[in-house]
Assembly symmetry: C2
Homo-oligomer: 268 residues x 2
């Protein structure tokens, strides 16, 4: 098989990364995709660095065995904590990360150089967005807020709900007070809350890392001459380490279309 | 070592089971305790039955290697889904379960035979409380409500907070409408919400399964002549499969005292 016809490997601790798959399907409709979601051990955002690195290495091993041509880290926590490890394992293969893509998009968006980030505790504590942004512009001010309740609220499906609104308001209060003009949605669950967040922060530009990551993937594949030109209709495969109750429903909410060809694959 | 001097093995998917340990320490101050919390794979309440059974068997193996004299399932999800598996592995050893203890306490408490249960989705879907209660009294009416957001709210430490109050109110609405007089707190995280739940449901008796499980453990050990009479000060050991950020803080909130002698132990 030509390298360009090989699939893109996309992975996440659970189902959230399906928002990135959705954006990839729209931006790169000819690409084959293999997805891995570690639903048996989700969420990663509350675990230690060592544990996240170990679990991540197992996922990358699995995707490399599936002969992917590029890796997309569709989980902010993994990108924040184990991004380097993924790079090492990938060798010369393109590695895209929601954090790097989100950081660059935020820098292009901000006008006053005050950028907010909402993410899991582990992502915030890793300081990864600040490092990625400061590598390009050291003068940018970053305001980060850990928002651990937003993931379960999204998974509960309370996307347009008073409790979710109050929770978002509570979390945004300190960073809005600091005059940000751009807010990075630093978790793949959060794009589903965009309408509500826009109402609560009407003058702030939101950076949806699923869209920016799909765009960065398109550019990277083009630069490496790896865009799929086979002309065949694309193949999508979804592997998860567990298929719990309501998985299909929740997964389809993220993917925005019906979720087929799901296979269970235990790692570790 | 005399069997009676051996430790009680207590286990949970994470830190919530420490509320049961706390109740055991108070009710049985002479007992040695070994605790296992599967913090690398928490939460179980969103995973499939097969996965929960597999993870549970690994925990029980570990505790049996530690020569425990009794097993206390300090996790409603595990008790609901894998209780039988634990029984099989335990042989003749006493096995106590938050569900059996909670069911019996609720039956002693209710006067109108309308019992409510709040728990994780997996516990509710397993129907385990209804089965345990109906085994004693088939005429009891059980109203169950899955309350997946309460675990992350407790772990966020929002114990006395307007958002938590609204969430509790939303979840309790349908079961309060059904005229229950007794509510089982069907998750080891929920005892920390007792003050708030009492305010939202002032006329309802709350069944705190940590206390009822400690009481059932005391009776079971006495009946089996296994109460520790060595007279030595008790030994407490805490094993977890991951030690994430803020673990100590969150753990101590559940245990109600300082958490020492924590060791990390990866399973599977």
């Amino acid at each position: 098989m030509l390298d360009s016809a090989k699939p893109i490997g996309v992975f996440d601790s659970g189902v959230g990364g399906l928002t990135v798959v959705r954006a990839l399907m729209e931006r790169l409709p000819h690409e084959n995709i293999v997805y891995f979601g570690d639903t048996a051990r989700v969420p990663y955002g509350v675990k230690s660095r060592n544990t996240i690195e170990e679990f991540t290495a197992q996922i990358v091993d699995f995707l490399l065995q599936n002969e992917v041509k590029a890796l997309v880290i569709a989980c902010n926590t993994i990108a924040a904590v184990a991004g380097k490890r993924v790079q090492q394992m990938a060798g010369n293969m393109p590695v895209l990360s929601v954090i790097e893509a989100g950081a660059q998009a935020a820098l292009r968006t901000t006008q006053n150089n005050h950028i907010g980030v909402i993410a899991t505790s582990t992502t915030v504590n890793s300081n990864a967005y600040a490092r990625a942004i400061h590598a390009h512009n050291a003068a940018t001010r970053i305001l980060s807020q850990a928002t651990p309740l937003l993931v379960p609220l999204v998974e509960e499906g309370w996307l347009d709900n008073e409790i979710t609104r109050l929770t978002v308001r509570e979390y945004l209060k300190p960073i809005l007070a600091d005059n940000i003009d751009t807010l990075i949605l630093g978790c793949t669950h959060f794009p589903l809350l965009k309408p509500l967040i826009k109402q609560e922060a009407p003058n702030i530009e939101l950076v949806d890392s699923s869209i920016t990551t799909a765009e960065a993937t398109a550019q990277s594949l083009a630069a490496a001459n790896l865009l799929n030109t086979s002309g065949q209709s694309p193949d999508y495969r979804f592997y998860v380490s567990d298929i719990p109750l309501r998985f299909q429903t929740i997964g389809e909410r993220f993917l925005g279309r019906s979720l087929e060809q799901i296979e269970m694959m235990r790692l570790g």
